[in-house]
Amino acid sequence: MARLQVETVINGEPREFLCDANQSMLDVLRDELGLTGTKEGCGTGDCGACSVLVDGRLVCSCLMLGVEASGKSVETIEGIAGEDGLHPLQRQFLENAALQCGICTPGFIVASKALLAKNPNPDEETIRYWLAGNLCRCTGYDKIIRAVQDAAAEMSHPA
């Protein structure tokens, strides 16, 4: 099968890749581009481990074809940390021990970043609904919610 050539922007960098017509963006990220920070939990849109931003919009990369990235800007967990270190969300996930095995964490952080971009000061209910599509088998969610709240506070009142 002839592979398709796709030009896109990933984490701010122009990238080109080849993919099959039926290859998901998740598989492209992991298998073609070596960006293995984005995880596969289910492959069917249920767990959120594969969350990425496409033109700023939160989506499941397992429910998107690689070719659909053509002309778009994609942000993955690898693009979250700044030049000067971890993003406040990443730091607060560590501070709050909001991860155990860590497979859900990239998805939670990408999804939370999208939430804070839309709503810098979300209440607990808003956070829980926004993150309802991100599943975690380890933490029991409470620490994740607190990490997001602490990151929101830190981002609105930088120390």
Partner: protein, 291 residues
């Protein structure tokens, strides 16, 4: 064996031509909108390779017009985008709450209500809401376009009224008057990320304290979502008192022909659809009263 191919045509005529060409060459095609059903189907064992035709690059399917002259929701517009439209939210709160129930934030970033309709699941949440709101489907055909009412679009479980070579361009709706509001309620065992046991969409017009127009549609309790004219008749001319609400609920129950599965027995679904009908009427009525 045939392999997967992908095309993103740049015009409606090119899309229709591509559908016709693939058909004449004996190749299977599938339209791709948000892909939240298509990609799941593609992963299933035994999925036959086909040409995926992405309609997200067409100007027509990306249209989202909301004005006094009418509402148009293009087939490529995802739920997240319609839910961010403040004027649309006040005009059709019921349709938007149905769209807002579809999956997670991530799913809503991609899923379209037109895809929800085309997929024709009995439990598709946006379908009863768009039927109640009186949506008209604009369909691209080889000859140009044709229109059918949303209640006539789904013809069976997973089957829609599109003929080979056609695709859905978008939904047309009238801009509701200040006396007209809609509502959608569904019941699921969990509060988020679950499939409806029953769903009810209603749209009411109330003038001078009397209901002058009503549309009631039910979902997840029959092979297709359907309009229940008897429920509307029970409401029109009344002040939406308890008796009228009860009769509308009973009409929904009578129209329902649900299956029994792990989410609920047929008897339970019939009971729930009547309750949801009454509650949705109350919600729509309160919206008209500005409560």
């Amino acid at each position: 064996m045939e392999s997967y191919a992908y095309a993103a045509p740049s015009s409606v005529s090119e899309t229709v031509a591509l559908l016709a060409q693939n058909a004449s060459e004996g190749r299977q095609t599938q339209i791709l909108a948000g892909g939240t059903d298509v990609l799941v189907q593609m992963r299933a064992a035994g999925h036959t390779p086909r040409t995926i035709i992405d309609i997200k690059t067409l100007a027509e399917t990306n249209r989202l017009d909301v004005s006094a002259d009418g509402i148009y929701i293009g087939a490529a517009v995802p739920s997240a985008v319609i839910n961010e439209h403040a004027l649309l939210r006040s005009a059709l709160p019921g349709l938007l709450e149905a769209a807002d129930l579809i999956g997670s934030t991530q799913i809503q970033g991609r899923a379209t209500i037109c895809g929800n309709l085309c997929n024709a699941s009995p439990a598709g949440d946006s379908i009863p809401a768009m039927i109640a709101a009186g949506a008209i489907c604009e369909i691209a055909t080889a000859a140009g376009s044709r229109e059918i009412a949303a209640e006539d679009f789904v013809v069976g479980v997973g089957r829609n009224a599109l003929a080979p070579g056609e695709f859905l361009l978008g939904l047309k709706l009238a801009m509701p008057s200040a006396e007209t509001k809609d509502a959608y309620l569904r019941f699921t065992p969990r509060t988020e990320m679950d499939i409806a046991v029953a769903g009810v969409g209603v749209s009411l017009t109330v003038a001078g304290g009397r209901c002058t127009q009503a549309r009631v549609a039910i979902g997840a309790v029959a092979p297709t979502a359907m309009l229940v004219p008897e429920a509307a008749e029970a409401l029109i001319g009344t002040d939406l008192n308890d008796t009228a609400l009860h009769q509308a609920g009973e009409a929904c129950k009578a129209a329902a022909s649900p299956i029994s599965d792990k989410r609920g027995t047929a008897e339970y679904r019939k009971k729930v659809v009547a309750v949801l009908c009454r509650r949705a009427i109350v919600v729509a009525h309160q919206r008209i009263q500005g409560a």
